[in-house]
């Protein structure tokens, strides 16, 4: 799906506050750019507050893409409800990575994250672009309707 002529589709990308893993972040950034996205990449070790600031600066960002592989997703995202209550971080939050500590993953891991307000958990990075396109399509539809 191509963006509106003249306007680049913008996303905000970054890694959770306690997580320094840079590789996935940089690859996803390059991949999105090669697909024509404008990516505001906040890089590693990014507190949720910084994501919120970025959204404030880029209110048309269609999604906030957060990576977390060090297992600390739940704690690093613990302020998401508070920020949302303040009306911040409104675009859909898409989370991907390795979301809990340990080699055995549990159903509950995702439930806790969704309960915090994460909108989408992407388990296979190949699903990211299709998801962005779907979200974009429904956003466009709502804009036209609204």
């Amino acid at each position: 799906m191509s963006a509106d002529p003249g306007r680049l589709r913008t996303v905000i990308l970054g890694v959770t506050a306690s997580d320094a893993h840079a590789v996935a972040n940089q690859l996803i950034c390059r991949q999105l750019r090669s697909h024509g996205f404008r990516v505001i990449n906040l890089g590693v070790c990014t507190p949720l507050e910084e994501f919120a600031d970025a959204v404030d600066a880029e209110p048309t960002a269609e999604a906030v893409l957060i990576g977390s592989v060090n297992g600390h997703a739940r704690t690093d995202l613990r302020d998401l409800p508070a920020l949302r209550r303040q009306g911040r971080l409104q675009p859909p939050v898409i989370l991907g990575g390795n979301l809990s500590v340990g080699a055995q993953k549990e159903e509950a891991d995702h439930e806790h994250l969704l309960a915090l307000g994460v909108d989408h958990i992407v388990t296979d990075v190949a699903e990211l672009l299709p998801l962005l396109d779907t979200l974009y399509a429904s956003q466009q539809l709502e804009l036209r309707r609204g």
Partner: protein, 461 residues
């Protein structure tokens, strides 16, 4: 003589510590071998000492973990620290510890305190090393020392650029200098602290000369502060001739640049990039890494596990990683030898490249300032930097045989001869979409990063 004050610790940690002389007395008196003894013995035997990474949040769980792993006969055990503590978010570490210790990805040593650290050290008969990744590890270091632990990983470059976003290099170099100076003072006093330097850096596709150049600079800085035992860690890249040469280069280059009076031990970190998900492949790669360590003359090898691709390993899996490594360095595989010619060739390349990388820095009047300047101009650099304080312009790539070369050395201070050589070495590597260079770059990068991952069982790549 140094004391705690030389470390300029945060008050909340400082006030908990035992008095300096008591801590030093404990360092002297505690029974059992130190890591330095283990490294010397391994060097004499020609068989690398084996060490797992291991750290869980809870204290009792950590003791159990160490004791479980000890059954697999590692030579050294780790206390791997959680991410919050690494980033000095001691409060978050402490509150998560209280809330649900199992959700920490390591042992929050500062939150637990030095007394519990001593309990860890006393729980097993092998020495412990603190493995972390803190741009500023002074509180951790002080706590570890107070606990009687005499092996401490990290350095002002290697524990900054891969481990945080925005800590200026001069800051991290300054704090690590304080740690090294404290080790220097302790060495004078007869307490040898093993200081392992994290040459693994960002771990993924690291060109050997970069790993060695950066840790060598850290080693020279540490030696200046009086550090007497330095382990230089190098991450297995997966092409065994190159990796063996890199381990040997650590010895030859250290001899030349760090000088006598300092013991320098090469350490192999088993493959540090994206690990295979299949346990059979993972185990094969672990064994491959063990052969690499033995053939390269590593004094120590830090093992991976079959869970690597999935998450922090449990004790059973980690124990198996230790034992698979033991099998790999055992007599069973003694028959494996390499063509010395190919190793020599890689060795001479690495030595030359390291010289080219560090020469301009060593020419500066002040070493630490020289390092900062080199990174800010890009003469020193690394790929996939987590930190904004490196250009991250270097593009590594595997050649047709899997060895890691510079596809784009960026602004690194490498000679044109070296640059040409890397270009040539890469020229036989087929590219998939010569007409779309940018897409191709990305797909080659992905191919290289996932080189060992997802290998098919009976597949010959």
């Amino acid at each position: 003589m140094a004391d705690w004050s030389a470390l300029e610790l945060s008050a909340s940690v400082a006030e908990q510590l035992p008095d300096w002389s008591g801590a030093v007395a404990h360092l002297h008196d505690r029974p059992g071998p130190r890591t330095v003894d283990i490294l010397r013995a391994a060097d004499r035997a020609g068989v690398p000492a084996i060490q797992p990474r291991c750290g869980v949040g809870g204290h009792r769980e950590m003791i159990t973990l160490l004791q479980e792993l000890e059954k697999s006969h590692p030579a050294v055990l780790s206390v791997t620290i959680d991410s919050y503590t690494r980033l000095r978010q001691f409060d978050t570490a402490a509150s998560l510890l209280a809330e649900d210790a199992g959700r920490l990805n390591g042992y929050p040593l500062v939150a637990h305190g030095w007394r519990r650290g001593r309990e860890l050290a006393d729980a097993v008969s092998v020495p412990l090393e603190i493995r972390h990744g803190s741009p500023d590890g002074r509180e951790l270091f002080a706590t570890a020392l107070a606990a009687g632990i005499t092996s401490f990983e990290g350095g002002g470059i290697g524990y900054n650029l891969p481990y945080c976003k925005d800590v200026p290099l001069d800051e991290s170099l300054r704090t690590w200098r304080q740690i090294d100076a404290t080790c220097g003072a302790l060495a004078k006093d007869g307490v040898i602290v093993d200081r392992e330097l994290f040459g693994t850096l960002t771990a993924v596709l690291m060109p050997p000369s970069l790993c060695i150049a950066i840790t060598l600079l850290e080693a020279i800085a540490a030696a200046k502060e009086g550090v007497r035992c330095i382990s230089i860690a190098y991450p297995q890249g997966g092409e065994i001739y190159q990796d063996v040469a890199a381990l040997r280069a650590i010895r030859t280059l250290a001899q030349r640049y760090v000088g006598s009076g300092v013991e320098v031990f090469p350490v192999l970190h088993q493959f540090m990039g994206v690990f295979p998900t299949d346990p059979a492949w993972a185990s094969g790669l672990i064994l491959h890494g063990s052969l690499t360590a033995r053939l390269g003359g590593a004094a120590k090898v830090v093992n991976k596990t079959e869970h690597e691709a999935h998450g922090v390993p449990d004790a059973v899996t980690n124990g198996r990683g230790i034992r698979t490594t033991a099998v790999g360095v055992s007599q069973l595989f003694d028959f494996v030898q390499l063509s010395e010619e190919r190793v020599e060739q890689e060795l001479s390349w690495i030595e030359e490249e390291v010289r080219e990388l560090i020469k301009p820095v060593l020419a500066e009047p002040d070493l630490l300032a020289g390092i900062c300047a080199a990174f800010s101009t890009g003469r020193l650099d690394l790929p996939f930097s987590a930190s904004v304080h490196a250009h991250s312009r270097v593009v590594p790539r595997r050649d047709a045989g899997g060895a890691i070369r510079y596809a784009d050395p960026g602004l690194l201070s490498l000679s044109s001869a070296t640059r040409r050589r890397h270009g040539q070495l890469l020229s036989t590597r087929a590219t998939s979409a010569p007409d779309r260079p940018e897409a191709d770059e990305l797909s080659i990068a992905i191919q290289d990063i996932f080189y060992f991952a997802n290998r098919e069982p009976a597949h010959r790549p």
